[in-house]
Structures are given as C-alpha cells and as structure tokens.
C-alpha cells in the first residue's frame, strides 16, 4: 500500500469521476469511496508515507499515527453517513463537493508537513462552499461568499505562518508549534479562525444554516474538527486555550436560546461543543487530550444526526424556523426518535455518546484544579441540554401543533439517521470501543454511580428549569428576527465604513478637481491676458517706445553708477 492510494486522493479524484456518472452506478460509487478509504486507513500500519523532497522542503503527504488515524477514520465515517443521507439528491454537485471536501479534510489530518496541510486546508474551503451555493438562494450565495473569504483568509495566514516558521526553524514539519514565536501566533490565529474562536466564530452561524439539507450535514463534520485536530497537534498545553475554550462553551448558548432558525441553534451549539474540545487541548494532559479526541469523535456523529433530523424537517416542510414548526412527531415519528437520540447524546445523558466523552474533559479540568473553568463547563453542559437537548426536539416536533402534516423523511435519510443513532448509543453503552482508538491509554471509568447521578441531577434540573419557565410562560417565545452577532462588524459596520469612505473619497476628489480646474482656468486667463492676441506682451511694440525704454534704462544705470 502506498501513499498514492491515500484516502484523501481517493475521495477527491473519485468524487470528480462521480460527476460523469448517473443513477445507481453513481450512488454505488459514492458509497464505495469512503468505505474503501476507511478500510485503507484502518489497515495501514502507523508511519510516514510518500516522502518528497521539493525545493529543499521535506514534504510528508501521509503520516499515520493515533491522532491522525482517529480523526481520519471518523471523517471517513461521517463522509459515508452524509453520502447515504444525500443519496436522494438529484444534482451531482452536492455529493461530489461533499466527498471532495471530506477527502480534503482527511488529507489535512494526514498531512505531516505544513505545506501539505495548507493545500488541503484551502481545498476544504473551496470544495465545501458549493454545498452552500447549491441552496440556490441569494442569501445562500452571499453567505457562501463570506464563508469562502474567511476560510481562504485563514489559509493565507497559515501559509504565511508556514513560511515564517520555516525561516525561524528551518523545518516545515507539522508537530508541536507553541506560542513562543511569531509564526506560532500566526498559525494559532489561522487555526482559531477555522475553529470558530470567540469573535472569529460568526462565519459558522452565518453560513452553515444557509447550506442545503445534506450540505449542512457534511459541513458540520469536517472544517471545525480539522481545526481542533490542528490545535491539538500544534498547541496542546497552551494555557490561553483553556479560557478561549471556556468562553466558547458559554457565550454561544445565550444566542442559541433566542435563535429561531433551528439549524442556526445547532450551529451555536456546535460552537459550544468545540469549546469543550479546545479546553481539553489547553489543559494538555493525557486525560484531557483523550477527552478532546473522544469528544470530537462522538460530537461529529451526534451533531451530524441532529443536523440530519433538521434537514429532514426542512426537506419535508420547507422551513426549520421554530415559529413555524411544532407537532411534527405526528408526521415524522422516526425522525423525531432519531433527533431525540442526537439530543440525548449531545446533552451527555448516561448511555449516550456525549456522556462518555465529555466526562473525560470535565474530569481532566477538575484534576488540574481549574475550579472556575469547571464551573463554566458545567454551566455550558446544563445550557447545551437546555437548547440542543430540549429546545430543538421540543420546538420542531412537539410544542404547539403547527398543523403541518407531511411525509416521513425519505428512506435514505432514515437509514443514515438510524445508523448514526445506533453509533451514538453504541459508543455510550460500550465506551471501550471508542477509548481503544484514543491517542493515549485510557484509565477512566465513566459509569460510576456518582458520575451517573450527578449528571442526571444536572440534566433533570435543567429540564425542570425549562418546564417551569415554559409552564409560567417566562421562556422567550420563538420569533422571526435576526440577532446581531460579531458578523455585524463586517456585514454592517465594515460595509458602512467602506461605503462612507468611498463617498468621502469621491466627494474629496470632485472638490479637489474642481479647485484645480478653477486654478488652472485662472492661470490660463492671466496668461491669455498678457500673451493673447490683445495681450500687452503679445502686442507689436513701436520702435519709438523701445528707444525710450532703453534710454530710461541707461539713464538709471548711469544714475546708480554715480551714486
């Protein structure tokens, strides 16, 4: 087996080939690609493959170790599930872009050097934007453009960082980077943009809910988890990440409570879940890093499942606004059930996947004595149950009956959701299966009576809070609205500043040119006065006056001479 067969290239070129296929052959081919990639990556021994020396740079296109294998495998699994979910889609762009995007993400986690990482990093941006544009609305088109700009900017920063890193260290290998150098900081910001750090986050909530039903499922899996992987590889133990992650877990949930678009609610909760992983990276102990890796794995599955259920609702009813939904459990019982499994998993209910992965991070944070961070993470855990665990299923499927009666989701969507739900429960019931894949040896038992009870107390009392607030009608009702977030800075303020500056510049330019024209006109008129046909200096002078002037000049000269 060689690197030329790497699942990254297999998926990228294989998906391009699918563009010319039709019908069942295309479906079979699309399903085969991630399966083949998965088998390849599961079977190949750890090591580095396909070394290339290019312009004095040591390129390592494929590096398989426990980190990259774990992320690569879950990416390929997500690619397969998303492809099943998208099988009903008639257009070829979505599955091709989706699998190409998955391939690029796998290529990036397998990259052993910064140049390869950069190439796949940018490829994830370019391929994934089509999943947004395929929605074919003006909103989606504009959101896609903004998404692309942010993603490409992150890539450009990464390239600059790689160049500076090469100058500073003489190597382009991608291992621990740290924040001791300027290159480290640049790379940190590049990764942070993709990882949706606070204030760099809003591309996520802006773009993901505008994508197609299947597009959002693809999108939710790869870009941000690639960034988590890159941070774990380059910045583990960087203390800044503990606070950055804690803020990420906390602030998006306030927005999630008041957001109406349920896929945008999920995008905010995605941001919150990334925060847990980032805290784990910041703590940097083996337990914490195991927690990050496990949580990324579990999160990709349950988040995909939640986006799948909302995508099915969008497909069948044409909306995912909380205001317009309710009572759908009557029409879509299977989708409702799968959504609840996803909701229980993200909320970390015992026997569901989130419980066995998030416990690792919380325990690791407590083990290092970070009380405040631990309290914030606990708050965020209660909050995520509140908005993802309860709000999503409640407003979509229960609440006030909207009177909408539709068909159950298509069979391929149900199959994709069914498998994903089974995996979420499987990991929760049998955590050893996930723990065996983690980067470090796991010595942790999630199912102690105390763990289970404390988690159940946290969740049930959160549910009680929701019930009480609903019962007494204190809970903020869903409403059609846009909630300002940091994208306001470039969508409104930046736009207004640019427009204001343009207007001011145009005004200034016209005033300056008017003044210049006036001054020039004045000069021309003066010259014309003296040199024009009637001008003093252009006149033919009589010889007599000439002689007179010469005589005056000579006389004054004589006078001055004798003085």
């Amino acid at each position: 087996m060689s690197a030329s067969l790497s699942p990254a290239l297999l998926l990228i070129f294989g998906s391009l080939l699918a563009a010319v296929m039709r019908g069942r052959i295309r479906s079979a081919w699309l399903l085969l690609l991630p399966v083949a990639g998965f088998v390849w990556l599961a079977a190949i021994p750890a090591g580095e493959y396909g070394h290339l020396a290019y312009l004095g740079l040591d390129i390592v296109p494929v590096r398989v170790d426990r980190w990259s294998r774990l992320f690569g495998l879950v990416f390929l699994l997500a690619a397969l599930l998303s492809t099943i979910y998208a099988l009903h889609v008639k257009d070829w762009v979505q599955p091709v872009a989706g699998l190409g995007y998955a391939g690029a993400a796998v290529g990036a986690v397998l990259a052993g050097d910064l140049i390869t990482l950069f190439v796949f990093w940018e490829l994830t941006a370019v391929s994934s934007v089509f999943l947004i544009w395929q929605r074919r609305t003006t909103r989606a088109y504009q959101a896609g453009l903004r998404y692309l700009l942010v993603q490409l900017l992150s890539g450009v920063l990464l390239l600059i960082a790689a160049a500076v890193w090469f100058r500073q260290t003489g190597s382009i290998r991608f291992d621990h980077v740290g924040l001791e150098t300027s290159a480290g900081w640049l790379m940190f910001i590049a990764f942070g943009m993709k990882c949706a750090f606070p204030l760099l986050h809003n591309w996520l909530q802006d773009a993901y809910p505008e994508a197609t039903e299947a597009g959002t499922v693809f999108l939710s899996a790869f870009t941000t988890k690639l960034a988590v992987y890159a941070l774990a590889r380059g910045f583990s133990g960087t203390e800044h990440l503990i606070w950055i992650g804690a803020i990420m877990t906390a602030f998006p949930i306030f927005y999630a409570v008041i957001e109406n678009d349920l896929r945008r609610v999920l995008a905010y909760s995605l941001n919150n879940q990334l925060g847990f992983m980032v805290v784990g990276i910041g703590v940097g102990t083996e337990l914490a890093l195991n927690g990050t890796a496990a949580h990324a794995f579990a999160h990709i599955l349950y988040k995909a499942l939640l986006f799948m259920s909302m995508g099915a609702v969008l497909l069948r009813t044409g909306t995912v606004n909380g205001t317009d939904l309710g009572g759908l459990y009557k029409s879509m019982p299977w989708t409702t059930g799968f959504c609840i499994v996803g909701a229980a998993s993200i909320s970390a209910f015992p026997l569901f996947s989130g419980f066995v992965s998030k416990s690792l991070i919380l325990t690791a944070v407590a083990a290092e004595g970070h009380l405040w961070i631990w309290l914030i993470l606990l708050f965020a855990s209660a909050g995520v149950f509140h908005h993802s665990g309860i709000k999503i299923p409640y407003f979509a499927f229960f609440a006030h009956d909207s009177g909408k009666r539709c068909k159950e989701a298509p069979m391929n969507m149900l199959v994709a959701m069914g498998i994903t739900a089974a995996l979420c429960i499987g990991i929760g019931v049998y955590p050893a299966s996930l723990y065996a894949l983690l980067p470090f040896k796991v010595d942790f038992e999630p199912y102690t009576a105390w763990h289970v009870l404390s988690q159940l107390q946290l969740l049930m009392f959160s549910a009680l809070a929701f019930s009480v607030l609903m019962w007494y009608r204190i809970y903020p009702p869903e409403m059609h609205a846009v909630n300002l977030d940091s994208d306001w800075l470039y969508r409104r303020l930046g736009y207004a500043l640019t427009r204001g500056m343009t207007t001011a510049f145009i005004g200034l330019r016209s005033r300056v040119s008017a003044r210049a024209a006036a001054a020039l006109g004045f000069a021309v008129r003066r010259i014309y006065l003296h040199h024009g046909p009637e001008g003093v200096l252009a006149r033919a002078w009589p010889t007599g006056s000439m002689v007179l002037w010469v005589a005056i000049l000579l006389a004054s000269y004589l006078a001055i001479y004798y003085l």
């Binding site: 927005y255 919380l362 606990l378």
Partner: protein
C-alpha cells in the same frame, strides 16, 4: 377530546397529559435528590460535595441563562430582513 385532522388521537394533545409530564419532571428531580445519600460520592471540589449541588446548580444555570438571553434579545434583536435592506 383533541384529535388530529386524520382523526387520530394523540396522548400529548390532551392538556391533562401535558400536566402529567410536567409533574413527572418534578417527581424525577425529587427522586434524584432522595437517592443521593445512598450513593458513594467522589467529588471533584469542595463545592460539589455539598448536598444536591448538581441539581440546584443546573437549575440556577438554566434560569439564569434564559433570563440573560431575554435581556440579550432586547439588545441584539433586529427585523428578519435587517441585512437585506
């Protein structure tokens, strides 16, 4: 009796059943407090060794979250077509 357009009855369509669910949540919470003394604790900090910490903290967090979010909404809410104008 509430019924669907298709004529099918749904358990949750009845008001008294919703009230049952509401009471059920209260009972579940009470039970979780009651069994706490029976469980061997291994708390992370001093604060979570106190009785019912996870329960009241979760409740307080969620109420605080929702009330803060209501204030946040006053500050950040704009019409649906805000960015299209």
């Amino acid at each position: 009796m509430a019924s669907d357009q298709s004529g099918k009855d749904y358990w949750l369509d009845r008001k008294e059943n919703v009230a049952r669910v509401y009471r059920g949540v209260w009972i579940a919470c009470a039970l979780l407090f009651l069994v706490e003394p029976l469980v061997h604790k291994h708390p992370e900090f001093a604060i979570d060794s106190s009785f019912g910490f996870y329960g009241w903290y979760g409740f307080a967090c969620c109420v605080g979250l929702v009330l803060t979010a209501k204030v946040l909404r006053i500050l950040v809410k704009r019409p649906d077509d805000y960015y299209e104008r």
